[in-house]
């Protein structure tokens, strides 16, 4: 090589003469590994490789991420929706975390099964990756500040608080206060990106040293150097793993729930590998389920090197039992969720909210944050107000409550129902409004067109059949509806004025004063809502107009807010 004029080679030689890194690398690569290189035998190096990928993708994400309670979710949504390959990158990072867990598990289980512990310290250092990776996972899970991260962290920090003696103090430090908030997020971020990576590097360096020393002090009887065949097994494992991760990242994408909102129902679930622990907590109270039992399992694994020398069978039974229990609990947890209608329903409503939040965030997120943006979105706010203010008297299921039901309100079916039987208990039967006569038997054939005509009084409704409207109009006046319900502006008759009935203007006037002279007058029993903020009234109007189930014109929300 000295004769070779290859400048790269020459440069390497020059550097190596001063740093010695090539010879160091060569020594490391030549470290003898016990046994033979087979498929499925991975070394700690593969976990290092997977971590390198996490560092790379994590750096990419950190170029956008903003750790604030009003900005974190929006910044992650921005990566997902506005950054070139951002969704794919985040997917790589999210599923890469699972890859590390899988590879670490493969590595630990394989070593435990072969009862090859490479000295106790080496084994303990390898086991030390378990709490370290758990910390990575728990902090990383919170960072998007979505419903899942928020509520899961609520659980995990409260479990930390259940630790005997130090629990409450630890919880307060981790949360940065007495409850989840901005400092919890900032601390999770600093731990995830600074403290934990440093600890990890330290652990790897220690491990490398212990591993090489062990190989020198007590060389295994049957062995093979790490390079190249063990390295190849690692390379294959990593390649397969990254391939699967890339497929998941491209095909499924990293999950992002709706922005964290303590006012919205959610069923928090941790990452899949913590599902066994979660399930355990259903059977055992803390600290037994959260600390004692997992701690016992951990110390059993830590003690395996002692057992491995004399009682090989017992060691293998313990390995099988702990792993089996883990798998069974994991399975039960997932099966229970899969078969729970309540959980599945919550999944659907959460997914809807997440989709809405993402759609709104594409036009920019206001300073108050994405959770507020969703909450203030008129249909969402309207639904909340309806549940709060209206649902006591007006059923959305068509049930007879104090006031008329509003299932399908403003739809032609609903209107036909009122015209046909206004005194039915689920319409006005339970109110003081009893002046309106049911539709005459012989006019029932005109019922559909009459309801279409009433619907047409709202000028924003498009696409009605003009012939049907004309027919309905004729019947409306033939049946004498017009005598009590004027369709001209500001005319007071016995019944409510129907000029613009169902339009935002009509509905808002109605909500502000249902007992107005041109509306229900002295028969009215509904409270006035004129003290609600204007934006809330608009939101309620938007919501009421959505009850007919027709596809909602997206510009209506902006129309009402311009009033």
């Amino acid at each position: 090589m000295a004769d070779s004029p290859n400048p790269l080679q020459a440069g390497l030689t020059w550097l190596d003469a001063r740093l010695g890194f090539v010879s160091w690398l060569r020594e490391v690569l030549a470290t003898p590994m016990p046994g033979r290189a087979r498929l499925g035998r991975v070394s700690a190096a593969v976990v290092v490789g997977a971590f390198a990928l996490q560092a790379l993708t994590g750096f990419g994400l950190a170029n956008y991420y903003a750790p604030g309670t009003t900005s974190a979710w929006a910044s992650v949504a921005h990566v997902e929706d506005a950054v070139l390959l951002g969704s794919f990158l985040r997917g790589l990072h999210v599923y890469g975390a699972s890859l590390i867990v899988v590879l670490l598990l493969l590595y630990l289980v394989e070593r435990a099964w072969r009862l090859d512990f490479g000295g106790r310290l080496g084994w303990w250092l390898a086991l030390g990756l378990v709490p370290l990776i758990s910390a990575f996972s728990l902090t990383g899970y919170l960072l998007p500040w979505d419903q899942r991260g928020y509520w899961s962290t609520q659980v995990s920090t409260s479990l930390a608080g259940a630790t005997p003696f130090v629990g409450p103090a630890a919880q307060r430090v981790v949360q940065g206060g007495t409850e989840l908030g901005q400092l919890t997020l900032t601390r999770a971020y600093s731990a995830h990106t600074i403290l934990l990576p440093l600890l990890l590097c330290g652990l790897f360096m220690l491990y490398l040293r212990v591993w090489r020393r062990e190989a020198k002090v007590s060389p295994p009887e049957e062995s093979e150097p790490y390079w190249p065949r063990f390295a190849a097994r690692d390379g294959i494992a990593l390649l397969i793993g990254v391939g699967v991760v890339a497929l998941l990242a491209g095909g499924v994408g990293g999950h992002l729930e709706a922005p964290a909102d303590p006012e919205v129902d959610f069923a928090p679930r941790p990452e899949w590998y913590f599902m066994a622990l979660r399930q355990l907590l259903e059977y055992a109270p803390e600290p037994i389920g959260s600390h004692v039992l997992p701690g016992v399992a951990f110390f059993v694994w830590a003690g395996l090197p002692w057992l491995g020398e004399k009682r090989r069978l017992l060691a293998r039974i313990l390995v099988t039992c702990t792993l089996g229990l883990w798998v069974v609990l994991l399975g039960i947890g997932f099966w229970a969720d899969h078969t729970s209608p309540r959980f599945q329903k919550l999944l659907v409503s959460s997914a809807e909210r997440a989709t809405l939040a993402r759609r709104l965030a594409r036009d920019g997120v206001p300073p108050e944050g994405a959770a507020e943006q969703v909450r203030n979105h008129p249909p969402v706010r309207g639904a909340q107000l309806f549940a709060q203010e209206c649902a006591r008297c007006h059923s959305l299921q068509g049930l007879p409550l104090e006031g008329p039901h509003l299932k399908g309100y403003l739809s032609t079916e609903w209107l036909a129902g009122v015209i046909k039987e206004p005194r039915h208990p689920s319409y006005f039967g339970q109110t003081k409004i009893d002046d309106m006569e049911p539709l005459a038997e012989d006019a029932l054939g005109d019922l559909p067109s009459m309801s279409v005509f009433v619907r047409s009084l709202d000028p924003s409704v498009k696409g009605l059949d003009p012939a049907e409207v004309a027919k309905g109009r004729k019947a409306y006046f033939e049946q004498g509806c017009g005598a009590c319900h004027s369709i001209k502006p500001r005319v007071e008759e016995l019944g409510p004025n129907l000029y613009g009935y169902g339009s935002p203007t009509w509905l808002r006037e109605f909500l502000e004063n249902p007992g107005a002279d041109h509306l229900y007058c002295e028969t009215n029993e509904m409270p006035r809502y004129n003290e609600l903020p204007s934006a809330d009234l608009d939101a309620l109007v938007v919501y009421l107009r959505m009850l007919d189930g027709d596809p909602y014109p997206p510009d209506v929300a902006s129309v009402t807010s311009q009033r």
Partner: protein, 219 residues
């Protein structure tokens, strides 16, 4: 690193064909027939490494590691680079008209006024985002508005003592009240911005220009 060991500087994770062939002649080469055989593990590999014969399986193993590492790191690296480089595809901010206040209220002399406009910053949306400030100079009936960003490095120029000139606090560039460069590092005069009066309101067409260049380039 001593000289005798140099020829076998090979086990780096870059298994190019070339490096494999250059390694082979340096070893005591056994007949090629044995290359296809199952390689037996070398006990105490660290010691015997220099005598290890690179079998076809070893080459395959090295190639696997090299390709695997390159593929995985390369793929993630490309994605990370695309993500980090996304701002390169961003278009320049369009100039926009921003109100500065009632034209008739403007007093004689020079002052700095804030410019605000609705806008986006990454995922954020603002009703009125602070864009920066402009220097408004009224001399008689004539009103001229300059970007307050110094053309040198973009620092905010200040109205000098007594309102006689404009001074950049960063590197002491000086400008007269008509924007002419009087001294310092600035490569050009202050950037004059378009103005108009709408319904009595003085408006400026706010725009940013590249710093450090002798001519104005919108950014």
């Amino acid at each position: 690193m001593n000289e005798e060991q140099e020829p076998s500087l090979q086990p780096r994770p870059e298994p190019s064909e070339e490096s494999e062939t250059t390694q082979a002649p340096a070893e005591p080469t056994p007949p090629q027939a044995s290359a296809g055989e199952q390689a037996s593990p070398q006990p105490g590999g660290a010691v015997d490494k220099s005598q290890a014969k690179p079998t076809r399986r070893d080459l395959l193993a090295q190639a696997t590691v090299g390709l695997g590492a390159c593929a995985a790191l390369g793929a993630c690296g490309v994605v990370a680079a695309a993500v980090v480089g996304t701002p390169l595809a961003q278009e320049a901010q369009a100039a926009r008209w921003c109100p500065l206040g009632l034209a008739k209220d403007l007093a004689q002399g020079a002052r700095k006024l804030p410019v605000r406009a609705p806008g986006r910053d990454a995922w954020r949306r603002f009703g009125a985002r602070a864009l920066g400030r402009v220097v408004v100079v009224k001399d008689g009936e004539a009103v001229s508005v300059f970007s307050a960003a110094c053309p040198h490095n973009g620092c905010d120029v200040a109205v000098g003592e007594g309102g006689a000139d404009l001074v950049c606090p960063c590197h002491k560039s000086r400008f007269s009240l008509d924007g002419t460069r009087l001294g310092g590092q600035s490569p050009r005069d202050l950037d004059l911005l378009e103005t108009r009066v709408r319904k009595g309101q003085l408006e400026v067409k706010f725009q940013r220009f590249a710093f450090g260049t002798p001519d104005r380039k919108p950014i």
